[in-house]
């Protein structure tokens, strides 16, 4: 098989991706072993791999994974429902949009994690605080991207709907919403990233709940290999959420 044929093969990008990842891990391992990276700051990848069984068996990481995943899912549902509804509202009412769009954009850029003490007072030291923090952090991007998607619907598609005498509801569900879906999903992905960061961050800060709390405890014990193993599970939550949104997008809109 020629080099050109290999690079064109369907499996090549995936293999290249995994290969690059493995190479990066290997390089880090080597740099630590030769002492260029301090092993008391960054543990060796091989140590992290060896820490997995211990973290799974002794630290109940699967249960913690499920707790964080459930919090992320709850926040995702809230962010999606209220974010899209908010974007639609701003699209429908120009005055509301003019009055609030700048504020919503400012909220999207603000370090919202800093309001967690307020949420602790309101909701207490429990999962509700964590979910609400995720929801608050993820809301603004979904609102803004929903608005952008709806406002960016090509005029001619709206006119096609008008020429077929569509009602307002039909115009929204048959044209505006499907036309805006790709942009809405960009917003959802951004929103879910913000939500997940805040969920794990608040778990860490208030030492409660799932993987964030575990990372906190392992870091406190200076169990670096265990800490990084736990972080791998956070990445797994992120992958699950992304796969879910990707499936949802493909189901709602099979092509771009």
């Amino acid at each position: 098989m020629s080099m050109q044929a290999i690079t064109r093969a369907r499996w090549f990008p995936a293999v290249l991706g995994f290969g690059s990842f493995a190479a990066a891990i290997l390089i880090i391992e080597l740099l630590i072993r030769v002492g260029l990276i301090n092993r008391f700051i960054v543990p060796m990848p091989s140590e992290i791999v060896r820490a997995f069984p211990r973290v799974i068996a002794e630290e109940h990481v699967l249960w913690r994974f499920l707790v964080t995943a459930a919090e992320a899912l709850s926040a995702s549902i809230l962010v999606t429902v209220f974010g899209i509804a908010g974007g639609v509202l701003l699209y429908q009412f120009r005055l509301l949009r003019a009055a609030t769009e700048t504020w919503v954009a400012a909220v999207a850029a603000a370090p919202l994690v800093l309001i967690y003490p307020l949420y602790l007072v309101i909701f207490g030291r429990n999962a509700t605080t964590i979910v609400m923090m995720g929801f608050t952090a993820g809301l603004a991007p979904v609102i803004l991207k929903t608005l952008e998607g709806l406002a960016g619907t090509r005029r001619v598609l709206i006119n096609v709907g008008r020429s077929f005498n569509l009602t307002r509801s039909q115009q929204f569900w048959k044209i505006l919403f499907p036309a805006a879906l790709p942009t809405i999903f960009v917003g959802m992905r951004l929103g879910l990233i913000f939500a997940l960061i805040n969920i794990v961050g608040v778990e860490f800060l208030i030492n409660f709940g799932g993987l964030g709390q575990l990372i906190n405890e392992l870091a406190e014990r200076y169990d670096l290999a265990g800490t990084y193993a736990a972080i791998s599970f956070v990445i797994l939550v992120s992958i699950c959420v992304f796969l879910l949104t990707e499936r949802l997008e493909r189901w709602l809109r099979p092509v771009d």
Partner: protein
């Protein structure tokens, strides 16, 4: 050749009794930062049932304004538009519109695009797909029913739009430069398809275009418009035999019609060009 150019007055007195579409003395003005712009002024036209009417004019003559007024997408004008004697006050089920821009729904397959108006009308799934399939066939897209617009060429996508409009079975098909984005050869070949469909369905059609060849190839009658404000300048009866194909473009008579219409248009197009340049010098939008 029969009387090539007829006086515009003829149109104004054209008997609305035999017409399915009557546009009566339309004037439309737009408020702009530079002042009031009259896009269309005292324009009247009528289209007989089964007729293919072409409206041609230079850029800026108000063609698209006229298209939007007849289609019911634009209001706030003087005069009236009637379809089969009924006053048009908004989008009318008897008028089907084909737009200049690409207007297929990218998230729907070809069949779902064409079935769209039937879905809106509440037709059952199997019945609407059967009917949509017929119109997909009519525009020559058999075998592409399950494809998405992104997988089709520009000409095929415009045919999907046409099939979608035809599926609603409008009394009048209104086309706004439907092939403007296509190359000349595809445009001529799609013209053949339009002629074939019009022949088969006896579809009353009004095409708005700035392309003389396209107008002569397709139309029974052509209205030539002036540059802004868009008024009626001339009516040209196209006395070319039907059924037609794109082969007709090489005929002597075709060439004479094109030359005659260009004579009328050249003056208007020059006026438009001068106005455009003057506006650009002053930094005003055109």
């Amino acid at each position: 050749m029969a009387a090539l150019i007829q006086p515009s007055e003829r149109l104004a007195v054209a008997s609305p009794a035999g017409s399915i579409l009557v546009v009566d003395n339309i004037t439309k003005r737009f408020e702009t930062p530079e002042g009031v712009v009259t896009a269309v002024e005292n324009l009247s036209l009528s289209v007989a049932s089964g007729e293919f009417l072409g409206v041609i004019g230079p850029s800026g003559c108000g063609k698209s304004t006229l298209f939007n007024i007849i289609g019911g997408l634009l209001d706030g004008y003087e005069g009236s538009v009637k379809v089969a004697g009924e006053l048009v006050r908004g989008p009318h089920p008897s008028i089907g519109m084909i737009f200049q821009e690409e207007s297929t729904f990218p998230w729907r397959t070809v069949l779902d695009n064409v079935a769209f108006p039937l879905e809106i009308a509440g037709m059952g799934r199997s019945e609407r797909y059967d009917k949509a399939g017929h119109f997909v066939s009519l525009v020559g897209l058999d075998g592409f029913e399950r494809r998405y617009p992104a997988e089709l060429s520009g000409g095929m996508r415009q045919r999907v739009s046409m099939a979608r409009t035809l599926a609603a079975q409008p009394k009048i098909m209104l086309m706004d430069e439907p092939f403007a984005a296509l190359d000349e050869q595809t445009r001529l070949l799609l013209g053949d398809k339009v002629l074939q469909i019009q022949q088969e369905l006896k579809q009353t059609t009004l095409i708005i275009t700035h392309n003389i060849t396209e107008a002569v190839q397709l139309s029974d009658r052509i209205l030539v418009m002036t540059y802004r404000p868009g008024r009626l300048k001339r009516v040209v009866d196209i006395d070319l035999p039907r059924p037609r194909t794109s082969e007709i473009v090489s005929s002597e008579a075709f060439g004479r019609y094109v030359a005659q219409i260009w004579n009328d248009l050249r003056e208007e197009a020059s006026r438009g060009l001068r106005a455009d340049e003057a506006a650009k010098r002053q930094g005003a939008p055109t």
